[in-house]
Symmetry: C2
Subunit: 380 residues, 2 copies
């Protein structure tokens, strides 16, 4: 990995990555403020830095950043930090975005496995949602994942059960790379049942984690992970989410970061759509129904503009309103004189006669012995 | 019917109601501009008024307003006009709202059958949608109709198949009056299959039409009717609507009139929800999932405020984030010492010991021979 960053900086960040929990705002903020090297040195010198020292004392003794980097390299995992060509600059937006659930701040570094470079994710789309999704939600997530991937944008998700895996699989079905952001270390897999999926993503796209190697997935790490997904992507789509779903945490982060947030509606009777509906209803997300609409909303201005959906045009559509009005006044079976049609239509006789001739030419009305009536075609 | 309006005005409006098509902007605008009596006199005197005379010539001969009013009275139908105590002032908003599909303007008068007075509709809610609705849509419309009716607001709809009838029936199930606005004369029923429904509404609520007695339901009358529904109600809810549904025409009118417009989402795979989704997606309607949300959105400020939906709180929710972090670091089966827990949690030993004591008191962790582990309860 070529980089302009000096090695001391990388070692300090690797050490801080081990010492801190992902997204602990005390660490992320001090790193931004003091620099990683200075913060690490203060901790090593046992100089209390705010209230950090008490928390890290036990881990400080065992931190060996060079050995961690070596071990990561052997596992095919690289440690990407600010200043690296690969660093995804958009995650810097987290530095000013405050805290949610005591998580916040820009990541100190990202552990990455896979051929996809993180600096390729500026136009990417996160697709997240319920772990206990329905077939309906999986199918919507899969379609969106496929359409986004086909357009050339990467699909980012969390490799969880349900919507996450459906979104990844949609991209994989298009033979496109996808990105799994994990709450555990990049050398581990979670959930275990997705071992094959996560290995495939690591081989073709990227597996990313803010947590140090070997870390188990814990609650705060999921919360930190959600914030990272929101920050990496240009926009986030929530497919199904019950009222307390973690996907809503991702949506909140995306809103804080002024990213595009979209939700796929479902039946109002479905509890797994309730969180999405609440989000849309309260202005926290726009509504989308398919991948094309996602691309329209998240794509660069001018890209992916959709045509307004319309039903098929009928012969009637090509008539003026007044011609339609005359057509409506022509009886179905018994014929009527043009004066009778005019009275029914509430229009003048001259205009009605002109309209009837026009309608006859279009095959919509016909002249019979007892006057005008609808042509057979016009019934349909 | 007591009124401050003089009889000449009522007669002139009854005549104009017969001569014009509902919502013909040439009539509605000239009536607003010249007054009904003056406009009617000009037409009778064969003085051409813009291009109206040619259109009404054939009807003018047969118009007999006093006989029409007498006939209406015998049928239990009253003709309500501006100036009557019962006149719903909100429809006056149509006068400045422009045209859609060559319909527009405030109605010249309204033919009404039923005990409910039109001046009671200021807080009413229109519920409209697809005629070819699904069971899902009918059920949503019925629930909304029932909740709106129960709150004391009238439910307005068009008595059509599908969503309209489900909304009316929802109100009727609550033993509350509902309003059917018809595209045919107030003495007729359409569709015929809803004869019993429309009779019931006429007996308990109100059947309203802008069209003169005896008029058949025609295309332009449906368009004019939709505009009237939107104008009468404080807000309009679209439950199911395909991309070309007439319900979208009602929604367009409601938006022009600065009324609240709401849509109930459905599965993105359902064609009957596509029009609603498009409306919400493009900012033409807010999303609602039930009657309580409709009341919150349409009700007067401060009425019907809903609580944010939340899942049930768990013992874990009552912990601080750092206590949760400690709980996450406690192993499930084999016990761990507090220093090991502290290292895993990335927190200081003193704080971790305090947290463990707290968690033990809550029954979330337990002390065993080999250290701390999760209590059985905490697994769930």
């Amino acid at each position: 990995m070529s980089s302009q960053v000096n090695h001391a900086e990388r070692l300090a960040r690797a050490a801080l990555s081990r010492l801190s929990e992902p997204g602990d705002p005390r660490f992320t903020e001090l790193t931004t403020e003091l620099g990683a090297v200075e913060l690490h040195e203060r901790l090593l010198a046992q100089r209390d830095v705010n209230d950090l020292l008490a928390d890290v004392a036990l881990r400080l003794a065992s931190a060996e950043p060079q050995r961690e980097l070596d071990r990561a390299a052997r596992l095919g995992i690289r440690f990407v930090i600010p200043g690296d060509a690969e660093w995804p600059d958009q995650v810097g937006d987290l530095a000013g975005a405050g805290e949610l659930h005591e998580r916040g701040g820009a990541p100190i570094g990202l552990w990455v496995k896979g051929p996809l470079r993180l600096d390729q994710l500026a136009g990417s789309v996160a697709v997240v949602g319920s772990r206990s999704s329905t077939t309906y939600g999986d199918s919507a997530a899969g379609e969106i994942g496929a359409m986004v991937a086909r357009s050339g944008a990467a699909v980012i998700s969390g490799a969880a059960f349900g919507i996450d895996q459906a979104a990844h699989r949609g991209a994989i079905a298009m033979d496109r790379p996808t990105v799994a952001v994990l709450a555990c270390g990049a050398d581990k897999v979670y959930p275990e049942a997705h071992t094959a999926l996560i290995r495939h993503i690591a081989a073709t796209g990227a597996v990313v984690s803010e947590a140090a190697l070997g870390c188990a997935p814990q609650r705060v790490r999921f919360l930190a992970r959600n914030r990272l997904i929101a920050a990496l992507a240009r926009g986030t789509v929530i497919v199904e989410a019950a009222n307390r779903s973690g996907a809503l945490n991702t949506a909140n982060w995306a809103n804080r970061l002024h990213r595009v947030v979209l939700g796929v509606p479902g039946p109002v009777t479905s509890a797994t759509s309730a969180g999405v509906h609440h989000l849309i209803r309260t202005g926290g997300a726009g509504l989308v129904t398919n991948g094309a609409e996602v691309l329209e909303a998240i794509g660069a201005a001018g890209d992916h503009l959709l045509e307004d959906p319309r039903g098929p045009a009928t012969a009637r559509d090509r008539l003026s309103t007044r011609q339609q009005q005359v057509l409506d006044a022509v009886p179905v079976s018994r014929g009527a004189g043009s004066d009778s049609v005019a009275r029914t239509a509430g229009l003048g006789l001259v205009e009605v006669r002109r309209a009837l001739t026009h309608l006859e030419q279009r095959g919509l009305v016909e002249r019979s012995d007892d006057g005008w009536r609808l042509a057979a075609l016009a019934h349909t």
